[in-house]
Symmetry: C2
Subunit: 81 residues, 2 copies
């Protein structure tokens, strides 16, 4: 079944308190070497038919209007098998 993945991440210039919290917890758990953590969202959309260019254009619109807040977040759309 074809699946389209939309990754939504906070823009680089936007503060990411969830990522900061994870980053702060890592040394306390014994993990070192990580210089930064950003946390975002991942959406998996299932389709019955084929994923055409039109379907991907629709998903771009979904990402922009519903799945992300374009003021503070970037998104990326891709097909996954």
């Amino acid at each position: 079944m074809p699946r389209v993945v939309v990754d939504v991440m906070p823009k680089p210039e936007i503060l990411d308190p969830q990522g900061k919290a994870v980053h702060g917890a890592l040394p306390r758990l014994g993990f070192t070497g990580v210089t930064d953590v950003r946390q975002g969202k991942r959406f998996e959309l299932e389709f019955t038919g084929e994923v055409t260019a039109e379907v991907l254009a629709e998903v771009e619109k979904m990402a922009e209007t519903l799945l992300s807040n374009p003021v503070i977040e970037n998104y990326a759309v891709r097909v996954e098998q």
Copy 2:
């Protein structure tokens, strides 16, 4: 800069109310053809040095202990350029 991405998704048998809410909103916004939506988390971890097999093994441990709840979530670790 090497970046390791950890995708955390609710297990298929686990109810996903956020994904259901997104799925329910799509037809109201005029989007049709999507049969299911699952919502999960995406973590981007930045490292200064090279991402060796040892680093990836550490990230697997982070994913299992901090980034996901293995009872209800699956995770996937991958390197992204």
